[in-house]
Symmetry: C2
Subunit: 321 residues, 2 copies
């Protein structure tokens, strides 16, 4: 088993390749070629019940694929106070022939960031927009950075609007996006302002209360909801689901249990079967759905083992093992 | 993160310590101190649907414990034909404070063998037997070896009877047990012979058909069923459950889904709630159950993340990290 560090992994992964292999994985999933067991979740709580950490394990195998993967992602929120990154993780790549470990990708969560943003880019691309369209971003963390990077690059956009609770973080993110990618990035003072300025909106916060409400939205907007990935998290008000023309989920069961879609279903705002599958959409199975004429459209992403398999395979295929 | 090899791990684990920490883990589980998510399972099949490999992931955390673990165990049955071990695995030890990886125990499945046999020893010890009692073993693989080693050592037994499909493997196992542990080990020619000779019986095969039938059993016997740990496996005929005085499961839900107990329940031979919990028994919560006067008693083991946490912590506590 080879141990690969983050420093070795980063140069092996390009943004277009990441988006391409994640798209292939979604399409393979749509064809029934991928088996991914129910993810594991462990929560870490203070004595008073307050959550200070969580760890998720995802896994996937694909028919006739040389590898299968087990991915561990941990988020421990007190770490930043002691100078450690909050997010960490690693990916174990195993041989589908022998079950023996092939490689341990000590990516410290970097590959999860990339494969998550790759799904965001694919979800964002469902809505045809003009090159001068604006991408709105709610959140200022590292995933906000990666969503901005991958979506603008994939769609050829240059305009970004950002809102986060901490205005200085919004300013800093906009500076970074301008310097690194030449984007025209504008920090804004409310979610409302971002929504009104945007054609596509991506939400990437750990919020437990809806941040985006119906009254924030313009007549037409395409929303990619990334932040809510476990029970108790919620970014998108359930009324928005009620009035959306098209609702897409990366994984129906998972979004029902962990995503904003599930919150809306439990609130009685939308039927349990009102969503269509992102893998199916990407595989061309929903040509009846016209995103270009729809007003409010929504994609709820919770993250799939299939994405981890795709991105890990991209790394391993570029190694000489 | 420190990488620890099997060669480094083995000298750190003694049999009495392994049994002791696994017992503590069961008792902690009984007290509600351990959280273990539903295990993950991936199956690997030929094009004709025949299973050639499986991979299980188990995890556990314990309140106020410095580590949590994620354990990967793979069994790929074609490996032996190409000179590789069928079983493999590794244990990832993470910090409960920061979520960062602490150690990767590249034990190649060795710790799983030991913690499984430790549970077997604890289960076997529920039945008081005389020092000249005989331990019957159905199966001749590595787990049969470890069950024999840990049960005889823990109970102070010296007599073992072995049956396996391949008689030469039974002979070889008996030779090994005699040479390594000084046991009086006798290969036998049928499961019936072993059962009739034994006071305690442990079954450690991957059988999908019941190997032990009511007519094989003497009036009084204590059975520890280890082999059946996933749907489709079955070692103990369901009629035995129907007529057992005491039925114990290491984990009710898991045995219902994966163990011999579940097969018996689905066959309508026994009520779904007829079992008592091994962790509770070990924690002294079932003093009303008298194993000494009971005739047929059964313990169904499917393996718990709590055991992995216990054995991995034993290793890590003995390291200088």
């Amino acid at each position: 088993m080879q141990i690969i560090t983050r420093e070795e992994i980063v140069p092996l992964v390009s943004i277009p390749m990441a988006i391409s292999v994640v798209k292939d994985a979604f399409m393979a999933f749509s064809e029934g070629l991928i088996d991914q067991p129910e993810p594991m979740q462990m929560l870490f709580k203070e004595d008073d019940g307050q959550l200070f950490g969580d760890c998720h394990v995802k896994a996937a195998q694909q028919k006739d694929h040389p590898y299968f993967v087990i991915k561990v992602a941990a988020g421990f929120y007190r770490n930043t106070a002691i100078g450690l990154p909050a997010n960490n993780g690693l990916l174990l790549v195993m041989s589908s022939e022998t079950g023996h470990p092939v490689a341990l990708l000590k990516d410290e969560g970097w590959l999860t960031q990339i494969r998550t943003a790759a799904a965001g880019a694919l979800a964002a691309a469902l809505k045809p927009v003009a090159p001068d369209a604006c991408l709105g971003i709610i959140g200022t963390g590292s995933q906000a950075y990666w969503q901005a990077a991958l979506i603008t690059q994939h769609l050829g956009l240059t305009k970004v609007a950002v809102f986060g609770r901490d205005h200085s973080a919004s300013v800093a993110l906009c500076d970074t996006l301008h310097q690194e990618f030449g984007l025209t990035a504008t920090p804004m003072s409310s979610a409302y302002e971002v929504c009104q300025a945007s054609n596509i909106l991506v939400t990437v916060t750990p919020s437990s209360e809806p941040l985006i409400k119906p009254e924030d939205l313009p007549d037409e907007i395409h929303i990619v909801a990334v932040g809510a990935d476990s029970p108790g998290k919620n970014e998108i008000a359930s009324e928005i689901f009620k009035n959306a023309d098209i609702m897409v989920t990366d994984n129906h069961e998972q979004c029902l249990a962990h995503g904003d879609f599930g919150v809306a279903v439990r609130a009685g705002m939308v039927a349990k079967d009102a969503d269509i599958s992102l893998p199916d959409v990407l595989a061309g199975k929903h040509s009846e759905m016209d995103f270009s004429t729809a007003k409010w459209t929504l994609v709820d992403l919770t993250g799939m083992g299939a994405q981890d398999l795709a991105i890990a395979s991209l790394v391993v295929d570029n190694l000489t093992l």
